[in-house]
């Protein structure tokens, strides 16, 4: 199964879906600052890995599949849930990378320039997440 760029989904994404992601992402980022200020960085830091946009994104995916099937005169409920579940599985694998990101930033942020640590940790996120995806592919 080859990973590839396919802009079809990107082109079909409606403007309000981008707005939703922008709103939820911006709100969680702003709220994290408020929570950290009120309860300290220990609690605030938890929300750096809060699944803020996942419910909206997964629900939109289910809705798109239902609409696609409905156009063909079929019931897309099962397919919609399957697509959302598939996305959730991918996200679960992505969180492995998120753990790696967090560990690296925690261990290295005091020792090296911040931009190098954040950039390197982001690369490490991708490598860890993609490796987890590849491993589950081979094990299936």
């Amino acid at each position: 199964m080859k990973v590839r760029f396919d802009t079809e989904d990107l082109q079909q994404t409606k403007w309000y879906e981008y707005c939703l992601r922008f709103f939820f992402g911006g709100t969680v980022t702003a709220l994290t600052g408020v929570i950290a200020r009120k309860f300290g960085p220990g609690i605030g830091g938890l929300f750096l890995a809060f699944p803020a946009i996942f419910p909206a994104a997964a629900s939109l995916m289910e809705k798109e599949q239902k609409e696609k099937k409905a156009k063909a005169g079929l019931d897309g409920s099962v397919r919609g849930r399957e697509v959302a579940a598939n996305d959730a599985a991918g996200t679960a694998m992505g969180t492995v990378g998120l753990m790696v990101f967090a560990i690296l930033v925690w261990l290295l942020i005091d020792r090296y320039p911040a931009w190098i640590v954040l950039l390197g940790s982001t690369v490490a996120w991708f490598v860890a997440a993609a490796s987890t995806w590849y491993a589950q592919l081979k094990l299936r």
């Binding site: 609690i43 938890l46 946009i53 959730a88 990378g97």
Partner: protein, 113 residues
């Protein structure tokens, strides 16, 4: 207020960018990785480092590990329930937030406090 607005704008931009990148990838399960991209973390930590310093950001990152473990269990629960029951995705993803909160706060209380 200015800081909050800046956080909102930067956070929203970074999250949307990662989401757009994820949308342009196939297969779908691989694209799902971007649902757990460190977009909020990058936006927040960048601003935190400027405002509060690197040590503060380090403490937040340590807690983020617990949040990421909770996120893993949350996403796994959502996947499991969606494949076995007929609840709508919105109901499942919203209800499963209790898993994230329980695990994240529990880990913080037991391990990190």
């Amino acid at each position: 207020m200015t800081e909050l607005l800046l956080r909102f704008l930067i956070g929203g931009s970074v999250v949307t960018s990662f989401a757009a990148l994820g949308s342009s990838l196939k297969p779908r399960r691989f694209a799902g990785l971007f649902g757990a991209a460190p977009s909020v973390a990058l936006a927040t930590l960048s601003m935190t480092i400027v405002k509060n310093g690197r040590q503060y950001a380090g403490v937040e990152s340590r807690s983020m590990i617990a949040g990421a473990i909770a996120f893993f269990l949350y996403a796994s629960c959502v996947c499991w329930i969606l494949l076995r029951f007929k609840f709508s995705t919105l109901v499942v993803t919203a209800s499963a937030m209790t898993v994230w909160f329980g695990v994240a706060l529990g880990l913080w209380f037991v391990v990190l406090k």
